[in-house]
């Protein structure tokens, strides 16, 4: 009797325990689904807004490269061509976009085109000097307002005074569409140009290069220092109060808000040491300081993960301490150290606040070529574009986010690859 009661109780408890187990499994599953849903939503909202930035609108324009108007001859040198009167050629072309234009309407035509088209007309001529005295049909970049209207990002159903384009301009666009003189093509400017005040010709090449140069500085500074510091702390340092203090403070530094490092860069690097402002050199130095603790912690973890028996084996056959460390422990820890470094670099890539402090938030319309030239960086570029009022920059910022995510994804893939490639089993 008593025995069966105990049996029943055990069975009931077992049912309860397995139900608990199952419930917990479902909680985990639901949590994962929620996280995934948020991620999908995030990616969808970025992609749906950003992908249009990879296309630009161009308008077919008939250009008359008239010798008289340009004040050029077939023998003109490149320098003379640079000074050619291309703006006059452009003016003539604009006036002839439509036949029988009234003078009052003609002035609206100009606003349909990018301010960059002078350059496009000139560059075409520089590449093909033989077109002198001929008429050429060129696809030239449309103004951002036209671009946004055709991509459906700006509505035409709002009252005229709240639109960037008036009714006359809209009717021009409709006419161009009807005559197939307006098209969308791949936006090469987005990938080849630096920032600009005009959304249609603004690109991420400048900030991308800036980020790349900054990361280069971060890597050069932080990787050797982090390896040195972690090897010393892990393998050589005596265990005393001082090293304990250092260890605790490395962990503390890893948690310091990044903007504090920006202040440090402003106060010390710029004001005391006089580093050039807004450059990858100073940005990279600040970010290296910021990521060092992270990388050191990762390096030490991977050094710790090397079994001590390997080091003992080396020491037991008469290797010196540094031979045991550098022949055996460090090579085995290298995949982990590289992964940690790349994760640290990825953190540095996405960092905005410290860069704002050291002036990398400036408007830089050039692509930097060295670490001492002023430059932008991807996250700050996104920050600047999100802030701008122009509608054309909204899709640009979403597209730049896509680029930075791709960049991060590639860095993490590299970290995974390196880890799998060099990891040794024992």
């Amino acid at each position: 009797m008593n025995n069966t009661v105990t049996q029943e109780r055990i069975i009931a408890l077992r049912k309860k325990r397995s139900a608990q187990d199952l419930r917990f499994k479902y909680y985990g599953f639901i949590a994962m689904c929620l996280a995934l849903a948020v991620l999908v939503f995030l990616l969808y909202s970025i992609f749906s807004r950003g992908f249009t930035a990879f296309q630009k609108t161009t308008i077919l324009l008939e250009i008359n490269y008239d010798q008289e108007v340009l004040k050029l001859t077939p023998d003109s040198t490149e320098k003379e061509i640079e000074k050619g009167k291309f703006f006059k050629v452009k003016k003539n072309a604009l006036n002839n976009v439509f036949e029988n234009l009234s003078k009052s309407d003609a002035k609206f035509i100009k606003k349909l085109f990018s301010t960059n088209i002078d350059n496009e007309i000139k560059n075409y001529f520089l590449n093909n000097p033989s077109v002198l005295n001929t008429k050429q049909k060129l696809w030239v970049t449309a103004h951002s307002n036209v671009d946004q209207m055709l991509k459906g990002n700006a509505s035409r159903d709002v009252p005229e005074d709240r639109r960037k384009l008036n009714d006359i301009q809209l009717s021009f666009i409709d006419q161009l569409v009807q005559e197939n003189r307006i098209q969308k093509e791949f936006n090469n400017f987005f990938f080849t140009r630096a920032d600009s005040r005009h959304p249609e010709i603004a690109g991420i090449a400048g900030s991308f290069m800036g980020s790349l140069l900054t990361l280069f500085v971060v890597f050069i500074l932080s990787f050797p220092i982090a390896i040195g510091a972690s090897v010393y702390l892990e393998e050589f340092a005596p265990k005393n109060k001082l090293t304990e203090l250092i260890e605790v403070n490395i962990s503390n530094l890893a948690a310091v808000p990044s903007i504090v490092f920006g202040l440090l860069g402003l106060g010390v690097l710029l004001n005391v040491f006089g580093f050039p402002r807004s450059t990858p050199l100073v940005g990279g130095t600040v970010l290296a300081l910021m990521t060092l603790p992270t990388i050191i912690i990762a390096c030490r973890a991977s050094l710790k993960a090397v079994p001590p028996s390997i080091k003992e084996g080396a020491l037991a056959i008469g290797a010196t301490k540094s031979q045991a460390v550098f022949h055996h422990v460090v090579p085995l820890a290298l995949p982990g150290t590289l992964t940690g470094t790349i994760i640290g670099l990825a953190q540095a890539l996405g960092e905005t606040a410290p860069l704002i402090m050291i002036g990398m938030v400036a408007f830089i319309p050039n692509i930097p070529t060295g670490i001492t030239e002023p430059s932008a960086s991807l996250p700050v570029q996104i920050f600047l574009w999100v802030e701008s009022a122009e509608r054309g920059f909204q899709e640009k910022s979403a597209a730049a986010i896509m680029i930075i995510l791709l960049f991060l994804f590639m860095m993490n893939a590299l970290a995974v690859y390196l880890r799998n490639r060099f990891e040794k089993k024992w």
Binding site: I317, Q323, W426
Partner: protein
């Protein structure tokens, strides 16, 4: 029974402390040349600690303090002026768990000779590696795959690879810290045979938990208990007619 009177290692009043805790208490013993000396005793009795004093591996443990005197070939090794690198090249060590480097079989054995500069040419190095592998009784099993990783071998082979690695730097003494405890009986038997061969050229000190193993391979046996050396003598005598009742109790399985 080998009979010689050449003392290789002479320990006198060796005390070892881990922080406050005393692990060894006034250990004195002499270890003869070209013999196998077995250190036996229950877990935690200090036999491994004593073994690791001989090649100063205890230095790796920060809290470990060693005092007293150990002389190897009449040279004091428990002193701050001892060159541990040359000491360890003279005293090889084989660990409880096989710990080959994650490198090729060849590189595992070649590492010691190359850091000590024992080989002038590549063929010299190859000779050392092959001789060492032969002495460790491993050569015939691995001669066609010297470039494969050492970790791909079986446990017993790995342990013999570690013995070959230790032999390759021409030690005079080999310390073995429970070398068979992670191995199956067949691999154990092979290693035991190997120890019997190696004793012709090397002084061997082996820590073991297995009394049968101590009886099979050693000429001298030292019984440790709670950090003290209870009894030391010829293996035959210890196992058949020990002087101390504690030794008697331990080897007959009454405690331990």
């Amino acid at each position: 029974m080998v009979d010689n009177n050449n003392t290789k290692i002479l320990a006198k009043d060796v005390d070892v402390f881990y922080s406050e805790k005393q692990a060894l208490n006034k250990i004195s013993m002499d270890i003869k040349e070209k013999e196998v000396t077995a250190l036996i005793g229950p877990s935690g009795c200090g036999k491994s600690t004593f073994l690791r004093c001989i090649n100063r591996m205890n230095d790796l443990i920060e809290i470990c303090k060693v005092s007293g005197s150990i002389k190897v070939d009449n040279e004091e090794i428990i002193s701050s002026s001892t060159d541990v690198v040359s000491l360890r090249s003279k005293i090889g060590m084989v660990f409880q768990k096989p710990n080959p480097f994650p490198k090729s079989i060849f590189d595992n054995v070649a590492y010691g000779p190359s850091i000590h500069g024992l080989a002038d040419t590549k063929s010299d190095l190859e000779n050392i590696v092959i001789t060492s592998l032969k002495k460790a009784g491993l050569y015939n099993e691995v001669k066609d795959r010297l470039n494969e990783p050492g970790t791909s071998l079986s446990g017993g082979q790995q342990q013999r690879l570690c013995i070959a690695r230790a032999i390759a730097v021409n030690p005079e003494i080999i310390l073995m810290d429970e070398p068979c405890s992670a191995l199956d009986p067949i691999a154990t038997a092979i290693i035991e045979e190997l120890i019997d061969e190696l004793r012709l050229n090397y002084t061997i000190i082996i820590v073991t938990h297995s009394m049968q193993q101590a009886a099979r391979v050693s000429q001298k046996t030292c019984f440790f208990h709670l950090g003290e050396l209870i009894e030391t003598g010829d293996t035959n005598k210890i196992f058949t007619n020990p002087d101390n009742t504690k030794t008697q109790d331990y080897i007959t399985g009454r405690f331990g």
